[in-house]
C-alpha cells in the first residue's frame, strides 16, 4: 500500500527523535524463547537491544499464534476465565509498579492513575468474569412460517488472531481494556503498546507473559518499523486507538486481507455551557473533564467551551476560583495533574499559543516550562475560528472559550466540524438538552458532566465519522471481538414437494401467501382448495 511506504517518523502523534522518547527497537523476549535453539538464544543475548522485529518475525508470530488458536484452547470458557483472573491478579499484585510506570511516563498523579487506569480495568475485568457465561451463550431467535419447522440461533465465536495497537495517554488501560474484550471473546492476541509511554510498554511486556497464557497472548514492543511489520500480516481483527492520520494507515493496511477494524480516534470534544446551571459544580466538572484528565491529554477531555457572550465572564471567574481550589495558587507547582508527555507534544502545544494574535486572548494561565514539561492551565477567550487552537485537536491544558449570541448558535458551530468522540452540554433546560441529544452527532454525549459516559460498562464507547468506527466496553468489547454466526436448523419432516421443480403453478400463489403471512391462504392453496 502506497501510504505505508511513505517515510514516517512515528505512528503516535509524536515524532521519535526527542530526548525523552527512548528509541524502542527491541521486541518482547518471550517471542524468541518459544521457538529457538540455544544457538539462537545466545545470539539474542548479544544483540538484544539492537534486534529489529521485522516483517518475517511478524509473519512467524502470526503463524505461530494461529496454530495455537486452531488448537481450540482459547475457545474454552475455562481458558478465558483463567486469563481474566490473571489480569485481575496482575492489576492487584502489581498496582504499585503500574502506578510508578504511569508516573514515569506521564507524571500521572497516583489517585488519577488509580481511578482512570487501575480501577477501570479491574472493574471491566470483573464485569467480564461475571457476565462471560451469558455472553457466550447462543442467542435463540424467532423463526417465521417461512422456514417452519426450524430453529434458529446466533452463536458468538472468536474471530481468531487479533492485533491491538494501543496509545500513550492511558497506556495501561487503553492496552488492557481491549485485551480483556479480545480474551473474553476467545481470541489469541498480540498487543502493541505505545512506545511514547515506554515504562508502561516495558511493564506490560514483562507482566503479561507472567500472568497470562503466553502461547496465545503476546506483547510486541516497538515503534514504526515494528508496527508496520505487524500491519502487513493477516489479522482477523485490528483494534487501534490513536489519531485519524494513523487510523487511515491502519485501515488501508487492513484492506489487503479484508480485516475488519475498530478505530478509536479523537476529535474536538466541545462543551456547551448554559447560564442556568450551578456554576460552581459545572466549573468543577469541567476541570475534572479537562485538567484532571491527564491534563487535557485525553480523547474525550473537554477540548473547548462554547457559551454565551453574557455568561463567559462568570464562567471564567468560576473556573479561576475552582482551579485554584483544586490545584493551588500556582498550578505549575501542583503534583495533582499530569505533565505534558514529552518535548514533541510540549512544542506542539506551545506552537498553538505562539500563533499570531493568540496570546492576547489568554485570560488565565499561559505560562510554560520546557524543562519540566509543564504548561499552566490556560483559558483563552474568543480565539479566531481559523486558528490552530480551533482547528486541531488540542490534547493539552489549553481551553479556548468561544462565545455565541444564543446557545442555539453553538449547534451550527459544532455541526460545522468533524464529528467528535464526545460532546457535552451543561444546562438545566430540558428542551435544549433534547435538541442537543437529537441534533449533535458524536460518539457519546454526557449532559451536565464530562467524560463520565466512558465509565459506564452498559454504554458503548466509540466514535463516528472522524472520531472512529466500532465501539467497546462491557459487552460491546465481547461483541466487537466476536463473529456472530447465524445458525438455522431444519429437519426433514414436512418436506413440501411444491418447493422443487418442476414448479406447479399454484406454488407462486402459495409463496405469495406465505410471505404475506397469510396463513389461511397458505392452507387453502396447499390443500388445492384455492387456485390463485
Amino acid at each position: 500500500m502506497g501510504t505505508l511506504a511513505t517515510p514516517m517518523t512515528s505512528f503516535s502523534s509524536s515524532s521519535c527523535s526527542t530526548e525523552l522518547v527512548l528509541p524502542h527497537t527491541r521486541y518482547s523476549n518471550q517471542f524468541k524463547s518459544e521457538r529457538s535453539s540455544s544457538a539462537v538464544l545466545s545470539i539474542m543475548a548479544e544483540e538484544e537491544e539492537r534486534e529489529v522485529f521485522d516483517a518475517n518475525d511478524a509473519t512467524l508470530l502470526v503463524e505461530e499464534l494461529r496454530g495455537h488458536f486452531n488448537l481450540g484452547k482459547t475457545k474454552n470458557y475455562e481458558w478465558r476465565v483463567a486469563q481474566l483472573k490473571g489480569i485481575s491478579k496482575m492489576i492487584v499484585e502489581k498496582e504499585k509498579e503500574i502506578i510508578m510506570a504511569l508516573q514515569q511516563d506521564l507524571s500521572k498523579p497516583e489517585t488519577e492513575a488509580f481511578v482512570s487506569e487501575i480501577l477501570l480495568t479491574k472493574s471491566s475485568c470483573e464485569h467480564a468474569l461475571k457476565s462471560l457465561q451469558s455472553w457466550m451463550n447462543p442467542e435463540k431467535v424467532k423463526t417465521s412460517i417461512m422456514t417452519f419447522p426450524s430453529s434458529a440461533e446466533v452463536v458468538s465465536e472468536p474471530l481468531g488472531v487479533v492485533l491491538i495497537i494501543s496509545t500513550w495517554n492511558y497506556p495501561f488501560s487503553l492496552s488492557v481494556e481491549p485485551v480483556i474484550g479480545a480474551i473474553a471473546a476467545g481470541n489469541a492476541v498480540v498487543l502493541k503498546p505505545s512506545e511514547v509511554a515506554p515504562a508502561t510498554s516495558k511493564l506490560l511486556a514483562d507482566l503479561l507473559p507472567q500472568y497470562l497464557d503466553k502461547t496465545n497472548i503476546r506483547v510486541v514492543e516497538g515503534s514504526v518499523p515494528e508496527t508496520t511489520a505487524l500491519l502487513e500480516q493477516k489479522w482477523d481483527k485490528i483494534f487501534y486507538t490513536g489519531n485519524g492520520r494513523v487510523g487511515r494507515i491502519v485501515m488501508a493496511a487492513a484492506v489487503k486481507h479484508l480485516t475488519p477494524v475498530v478505530l478509536e480516534l479523537g476529535g474536538k470534544c466541545p462543551a456547551v455551557v448554559d447560564s442556568n446551571v450551578d456554576i460552581q459544580v459545572t466549573a468543577r466538572r469541567i476541570i475534572a473533564g479537562k485538567w484532571a484528565c491527564n491534563n487535557g491529554q485525553a480523547c474525550i477531555s473537554v477540548d473547548h467551551i462554547i457559551t454565551t457572550k453574557e455568561f463567559a465572564p462568570k464562567l471564567i471567574d468560576a473556573l479561576r476560583t475552582e482551579l485554584e481550589r483544586s490545584l493551588g495558587k500556582d498550578a505549575m507547582q501542583s503534583n495533582d495533574i499530569s505533565r505534558i508527555v514529552n518535548l514533541h507534544h510540549f512544542r506542539r502545544l506551545t506552537k498553538l499559543l505562539d500563533e499570531d494574535g493568540i496570546s492576547s486572548k489568554i485570560v488565565l494561565g499561559g505560562r510554560t516550562d520546557e524543562q519540566d514539561l509543564k504548561i499552566a492551565p490556560t483559558i483563552l477567550l474568543d480565539v479566531p475560528e481559523d486558528s490552530l487552537l480551533m482547528t486541531e485537536e488540542i490534547f493539552g491544558p489549553l481551553l479556548p472559550i468561544v462565545t455565541v449570541d444564543t446557545l442555539e448558535d453553538s449547534f451550527n458551530l459544532i455541526l460545522s466540524k468533524p464529528k467528535p468522540l464526545a460532546a457535552y452540554l451543561f444546562s438545566n433546560d430540558e428542551e435544549l438538552q433534547k435538541k442537543f441529544i437529537e441534533n449533535i452527532s458524536a460518539g457519546g454525549i454526557t449532559i451536565n458532566d464530562a467524560v463520565l459516559h466512558l465509565t459506564v460498562p452498559g454504554l458503548p464507547f466509540g466514535g463516528v465519522g472522524e472520531s472512529g468506527m466500532g465501539a467497546y466496553h462491557g459487552k460491546f468489547s465481547f461483541d466487537t471481538f466476536s463473529h456472530k454466526k447465524a445458525v438455522l436448523r431444519r429437519s426433514f419432516t414436512g418436506d413440501s414437494t411444491l418447493r422443487y421443480p418442476p414448479y406447479e403453478p399454484r406454488y407462486l400463489g402459495m409463496l405469495k401467501a406465505l410471505m404475506n403471512g397469510n396463513f389461511l391462504r397458505v392452507i387453502l392453496v396447499a390443500s388445492g382448495l384455492y387456485k390463485p
Binding site: A152, K485, R489, P501
Partner: protein, 489 residues
C-alpha cells in the same frame, strides 16, 4: 442519471446533504412513508420487475418472486412492524454510585450513504440495503449493477416516482461511475459483490474513515453425511439440487459451491443427484435458467476446459452457446489446485470431493478461506457440533439450503474473506445507524473525591466506592473507617 457529468452528481449530493441536515429523514413518518411507498412499488409494478429480471437474467416469475420480490416485501413488512421500537432509545444500566444519572443509547443515521448492488439478484440486493438505510433515517445514493441493465433502468425510472427524490437517488453506470462515486466522502458504504472489488472500495473508504459493510462470497461447501441421513437421504439430495441449481443455476453467493462426501457413498450420491436433476428439469436444456452473460459462460467453460478437470466430469458439461445455457455439471475429485476448486464457481458446476471419513470435512473447510455459509446435511449430533464449533463461516444451515436468507431475526453477512458487517431485519437498521451513548448526569450528588487536590481520604473513598461497598463508604464519610496514607498529605 448517466455516466458523467460529475457536476450533475455534485448538485445531487449537495441536495442530499441539505435534505439530511434539514432533519426531514429523521422522523418516523418520513421513514414509514418511504417504506410503504416502496411496498406499493413492488406490488403495483410487480409485472415490470418480473419483466426486467427476465430480460437481464432469464429469471422465471417464480424465481423472481421467490428470491427477489417476495423477500423484499417480507422485509418491508417486518421493518414497518418493528421500526418504532428500533428507533427508540435503549436504557443502559448505571451503577448506584452515579445516582441519579441515567444512561441510554440512541440510534442515529450516519448521514449520506452509498449502496452498491450486485447483478445476480439485482433488485433484491439493491433494495434490501435501501430498506435498512431508509429505516435508519439516512439519505441514499443507490448504484444498481450495470450488468443487469433492465433492472437498473427500471429502478432509475420507478424510484423517483415512488420515493422522495430529495433523499434517495439512483446513479446508473459501470466501473467509471463507481470509481467517481468512491472519490467522495460517504458516511457509510454498503457493497455486495466480489472480494476483489470489495478491497478497492475498502481502500477508498480508508481515506475518509468511512465505515463499510461488504457482503462478499466465497466457496460455500455442503457437507453430505450420507450414512447418518439414512431414510432422509432422498430429501437431502433434493435440497442439495435446489441449493445448487435452484437459484439462478448456482449464480448466488449462497449457492452450494462444492460438496464433501465419504468415498464409499460418492457413486450412490452422484446417481441420486443425476436422477434428481432429470426429474427436476427434464432431459432437454431449455428448462434451466441461463448463465447471466457470454462472459460468465466463457468463464465457466474455461473452468471445465482445464485438462485435469475435464477428465473428472461425471455428468453434464453440455453447452447451448446461443441460449447461454450450461447444463448442470458434476465433477468428481477435480484437482484441489484447479481454478474450479480455488475460485468461487458462481454457476452450475458442482465439484464433489471425497473423503475417507466425513469428519475430515472440518479440516478441509478450515484450510480454506472462511465461507459465507456452510451447509451440513447430517443427522449426527456430534458432527453437527463439530461443524458448529470447529469451523467459522458467515452462517451455518443444517439439513437445508438458502433459507436463513429469509430469517428476519438472523444476521446475514460473512466473516473473513466472505465479508464484514451484516444485515436483514434489525441488523439492517443497525448497520446504517450509529449507536450514540448518552449519559444524563445529575446535579443532585456531588462526589468530592472526583476532584483534585488528591489526598489519602479521596483515594480511600475511591477504592471503597468501586467495590460498591456502600457501608464502607458511609463509614468513611462519617469518619469511622481507617485508611492508609498515600501522597504527601
Amino acid at each position: 442519471m448517466h455516466s458523467n457529468p460529475s457536476s450533475m452528481e455534485q448538485t445531487a449530493i449537495a441536495e442530499l446533504n441539505s435534505t439530511f441536515i434539514s432533519g426531514a429523514t429523521r422522523t418516523f413518518q418520513w421513514r414509514e412513508t418511504q417504506l410503504k411507498s416502496l411496498l406499493r412499488l413492488l406490488t403495483e409494478k410487480e409485472a415490470d420487475c418480473f419483466h426486467a429480471l427476465y430480460q437481464d437474467l432469464g429469471k422465471s416469475k417464480l424465481e423472481a418472486f421467490k428470491d427477489e420480490v417476495g423477500p423484499l416485501k417480507k422485509s418491508i413488512d417486518y421493518t414497518l412492524t418493528h421500526l418504532k421500537g428500533w428507533m427508540s432509545p435503549k436504557k443502559a444500566g448505571i451503577n448506584l454510585l452515579f445516582f441519579p444519572a441515567k444512561g441510554k443509547t440512541m440510534p442515529e443515521p450516519y448521514g449520506v450513504v452509498l449502496v452498491i448492488a450486485a447483478w445476480n439478484l439485482p433488485l433484491n440486493l439493491a433494495l434490501e440495503p435501501l430498506i435498512g438505510a431508509i429505516a435508519a433515517g439516512n439519505v441514499v445514493v443507490l448504484k444498481p449493477s450495470e450488468l443487469a441493465p433492465a433492472t437498473s433502468s427500471l429502478l432509475a425510472e420507478l424510484i423517483p416516482q415512488y420515493l422522495d427524490i430529495k433523499a434517495i437517488k439512483i446513479v446508473e453506470g459501470g466501473v467509471d461511475v463507481s470509481q467517481q462515486l468512491l472519490q467522495r466522502k460517504w458516511d457509510k458504504i454498503f457493497y455486495t459483490g466480489s472480494a476483489r472489488v470489495g478491497k478497492i472500495i475498502l481502500a477508498e473508504a480508508a481515506k475518509h474513515l468511512t465505515p463499510v459493510a461488504l457482503e462478499l462470497g466465497g466457496k460455500s461447501p455442503a457437507i453430505f453425511d450420507f450414512q447418518s441421513l439414512s431414510s432422509n437421504v432422498e430429501v437431502a439430495v433434493k435440497r442439495v439440487a435446489s441449493g445448487k441449481w435452484g437459484t439462478l443455476v448456482g449464480q448466488a453467493c449462497l449457492a452450494i459451491d462444492y460438496l464433501l462426501v465419504e468415498e464409499k457413498f460418492a457413486s450412490a450420491l452422484i446417481d441420486m443427484l443425476t436422477k434428481t436433476i432429470k426429474k427436476f428439469y427434464g432431459e432437454s436444456l431449455n428448462k434451466f435458467s441461463r448463465v447471466a452473460s457470454k462472459r460468465q459462460l466463457d468463464r465457466l467453460q474455461k473452468l471445465l476446459k482445464d485438462p485435469a478437470v475435464a477428465d473428472n466430469i461425471v455428468y453434464g458439461g453440455s453447452v447451448d452457446k446461443d441460449a447461454l445455457i450450461l447444463e448442470p455439471t458434476i465433477l468428481l475429485n477435480p484437482p484441489l489446485d484447479a481454478d474450479v476448486m480455488t475460485e468461487e464457481i458462481f454457476g452450475p458446476i458442482l465439484p464433489i470431493i471425497t473423503l475417507n471419513n466425513i469428519s475430515e470435512s472440518i479440516g478441509f473447510i478450515n484450510s480454506r478461506p472462511k465461507p459465507l455459509v456452510i451447509y451440513g446435511f447430517t443427522n449426527n449430533k456430534t458432527l453437527k457440533r463439530s461443524i458448529l464449533n470447529g469451523t467459522s463461516s458467515g452462517g451455518v444451515l443444517f439439513n437445508d439450503v438458502l433459507l436463513h436468507f429469509l430469517c428476519d431475526e438472523l444476521p446475514f453477512g460473512g466473516v473473513g474473506s466472505s465479508g464484514m458487517g451484516r444485515y436483514h431485519g434489525k441488523y439492517s437498521f443497525d448497520t446504517f445507524s450509529h449507536e450514540k451513548a448518552v449519559l444524563d448526569a445529575g446535579y443532585l450528588v456531588e462526589l468530592e473525591a472526583r476532584y483534585p487536590p488528591w489526598n489519602s481520604f479521596k483515594m480511600a473513598f475511591v477504592r471503597t466506592a468501586y467495590k460498591l461497598d456502600y457501608i464502607g463508604l458511609l463509614l468513611l464519610l462519617i469518619g469511622l473507617k481507617r485508611y492508609p496514607k498515600v501522597h504527601k498529605d
